[in-house]
């Protein structure tokens, strides 16, 4: 079975990314559900790179012309969703920061009152 250079480069990169996902699960930086999500994404990508005809099959089922188009559409959707999730995560962090700053302000006020 002969592989094109791009298939080899992409596969190596995706294998590297999968190994990072496993390592992050092992050191506890990644929750199990996130591990399943990211590992599935990379494994599916490896399958798509090694067997591109499968993406064409999936594209035909969805009514999209070429396999490459289906992959690009799916990637864009995924990226949009992830950016949205990241924004929400940042907003939640900002909200937690505000709570902390507020608690400190009220605590300082109580301390000043006690000192008086």
């Amino acid at each position: 079975m002969n592989f094109l250079p791009i298939q080899i480069i992409l596969s190596l990169f995706l294998i590297f990314a999968s190994s990072r996902v496993i390592l992050r699960l092992k050191d506890g930086a990644l929750a199990f559900k996130d591990f399943i999500f990211w590992f599935s994404v990379f494994v599916l990508a490896i399958i798509g790179v090694i067997k591109p005809e499968l993406t064409t099959l999936a594209a035909a089922t969805l009514g999209i012309g070429r396999g490459t188009d289906a992959v690009i559409y799916a990637s864009i959707l995924l990226l949009f969703y992830l950016i949205f999730r990241t924004n929400i995560l940042i907003e939640n962090l900002k909200h937690d920061l505000t709570k902390l700053v507020r608690d400190l302000a009220l605590k300082d006020d109580r301390r000043v009152k006690k000192e008086k």
Binding site: E91, H95, L97, V101, A105, L106
Partner: protein, 229 residues
């Protein structure tokens, strides 16, 4: 006697806050409630906090800047903590007239409303610049679409809250989008809503300090994020 907390969020207002507080202190003496004025100093880098302290007024200081929503949240959290019966928020740049405090307070005192917005649009000689009128209209429309509440001035910073509203409202947005989020809270907690006409004093300083129309899109985006969070 019932307690009112008058909340003034402030960010780098050293230039005007002394004068504003003097005017407010004079007016609150005539109110039919015991009033405590507090300034929420939102991480100011100038002498705002010192000037406020010199006037024997309480300052709650945010160690870092967290925005208007965060400051209002801190003010309301304080009101909740001291079991205040009413809370009123006003801008600290001098654009609100302390004479209007009673207008915002009256519907709450009479138990006709839990939240009162001081509307600049209901004031007979409204001098709001046209660009602000336009963005206010867009914001009112968004409030109507998202929360099904009709308002004439969703961006007003002059607001009154009853004890019930103080206890129930939990502000989650940190910045300017708080103006719209308050309507979400009104709807969520089924609070009685009313408006009172207020005068706005536009000066070069208050116009420069006020909300920039270009922020409108960021406000809508953040509000949507908040809704989907």
């Amino acid at each position: 006697m019932k307690k009112l907390v008058l909340i003034l969020p402030a960010l780098n207002e050293a230039q005007v806050i002394g004068k504003v507080l003097k005017k407010i202190k004079k007016k609150v003496k005539a109110l039919p409630v015991k009033t405590e004025v507090i300034v929420v100093n939102d991480g100011s880098s100038d002498k705002t906090a010192q000037i406020v302290k010199q006037q024997q007024i309480k300052v709650l200081t945010h160690k870092i800047n967290r925005g208007l929503g965060a400051s209002l949240g801190t003010g309301l959290a304080y009101a909740k903590l001291i079991k205040a019966d009413f809370a009123i928020t006003m801008d600290s740049d001098g654009q609100h007239d302390p004479k209007d405090i009673i207008k915002v307070l009256t519907p709450i005192l009479e138990k006709k409303a839990d939240v009162v917005i001081g509307s600049r649009m209901l004031y007979s000689s409204n001098l709001m610049p046209i660009i602000r009128k336009f963005f206010n209209f867009i914001s009112n429309l968004i409030t109507l679409i998202l929360f099904r509440i009709r308002t004439t001035d969703s961006l007003s910073g002059f607001r009154g809250f009853s004890k019930k509203a103080i206890q129930k409202i939990q502000i989650k947005t940190d910045r300017m989008e708080v103006s719209n989020e308050l309507f979400l809270q009104i709807k969520k907690h089924q609070l009685k809503y009313s408006e009172a006409p207020i005068k706005v004093i536009y000066t070069d300083y208050s116009i420069q300090k006020g909300q920039k129309p270009s922020n409108a899109f960021a406000i809508v985006f953040k509000l949507l994020l908040r809704l989907f969070r």
